[in-house]
Every structure is written in structure tokens, then in C-alpha cells.
Symmetry: C2
């Protein structure tokens, strides 16, 4: 890779690490990790999500029981303030990453757009 | 998004646009676009690839005829110097993007790694 690209990628990585978004996400993770109830709930929620995602990717059917289970945990999770703040922080970070990608990938998107 | 993140993302975008990798990809695209035979072949190859990818994503079966068709076009494409150089340039760019993502996403990967 061009040295210049590397350098700017590392600058962006540093900016990411020092950003409000990332520091906030880190703090919200710590709040959850230091609370047994919140942490257990969050792990359960994540596991159920991963399981459903994997089944979907493999083209397997998701049962009604599994949908119910996911809904119950999603409801519990929303009522736990620490977990729901963490999920908000994750969503904000995910939006930031989408925006970053849009900026960085603009040259390629323009190129492919012009070829269509 | 933090101003600092935006600024560094735009710096990286500029570096991307001025990188050897991108300029080379652009030049290889132009070589293909200005050559009717190469351009037609490349469009055919891309269309077959997109069709197979879409079928795969929708969980539909790919027929033997389709696999054959894809192989025939892939062979033709490899024998056309302009198209094969473009495909090499695309592969190089794709590796660069993978490396960039690895650098930029390191803070998040560390965070998620520590939670596992
Ligand atoms: Ca935990
Ligand atoms: Ca064309």
C-alpha cells in the first residue's frame, strides 16, 4: 500500500480512538461489564442475535419459539438502562462508521458509477 | 460525527484519490473502456458474476449451465490482456481497502475482542 495511504489511515485510527463516539462507547461498555445483571443480559441478547443471524445466513428457518425468545430478551434489554445506553452508543458508532466509509469510498463509488 | 473524525476521513479520501493504486485502477479502467472487445467482455463477465451472486444471496440453486457459462467467460477474460490487467488492479485495490479497514477498525476490534 502507498505510504501516504498508510499514514492517513493511522491518523484516522488515532482520531477514532480519541473521538467522543469511541470514548462514550468504551464508557458504556465498562458500565455494563461492571454490572452483573446488565452484563448477563447483554451477553444473552448478543448470543440470541448471533444465533439468529447465523441461521439466516445458512438459509435455515427461524422457529416461532426463537422469535419469541428474541423478543422477550429485547424487551428486558430495553428496560435495563445501562444496556440500552450501550446499545445506543453502538448504534451511534455504527452510523459514524457508515459515514466514514461513505467519505473514504467516494473515489471508488464515483469510478464504478461512471462505468455503469 | 466529531469534526476531527470528518477531517481525517477527508484527508484519507484525498490520499486514496491520489494513491498509485487508485490512479492505476483508473488507467486500467480507461484502457478497457476505450476498447470495444475488452469492454464488452468485461461487462459480460461482471453481469454473469452479479447474476450468480444474486442467486446465491437469494438461496436459489445455480445450474450446471450457469457454472459452465461463467467458466467460459472467465477463461476468455483471462486471455484478454486489458481485462486481466484491470482485474489485477481491482484485486490490488480490494486488498488495500481490506488493509485500510483493519487499521481504522482496530480500536473497535480491540474493544469487541476484550468483551468476548
Ligand atoms: Ca461479559
Ligand atoms: Ca462499458
Amino acid at each position: 500500500m502507498s505510504t501516504n495511504l498508510y499514514d492517513h489511515a493511522y491518523e484516522l485510527e488515532k482520531a477514532m480512538r480519541n473521538s467522543e463516539e469511541f470514548k462514550h462507547l468504551l464508557a458504556m461498555y465498562e458500565d455494563v461489564a461492571n454490572d452483573n445483571e446488565a452484563s448477563t443480559m447483554f451477553d444473552q441478547f448478543r448470543n440470541v442475535q448471533l444465533k439468529l443471524q447465523q441461521k439466516q445466513m445458512e438459509g435455515r428457518d427461524i422457529t416461532e419459539d426463537e422469535v419469541m425468545e428474541a423478543q422477550v430478551i429485547a424487551n428486558q434489554v430495553q428496560e435495563n438502562e445501562k444496556v440500552s445506553r450501550l446499545m445506543e452508543a453502538e448504534q451511534r458508532m455504527s452510523m459514524t462508521i457508515t459515514e466514514l466509509n461513505k467519505i473514504i469510498m467516494a473515489p471508488l463509488n464515483e469510478l464504478y458509477g461512471s462505468m455503469a
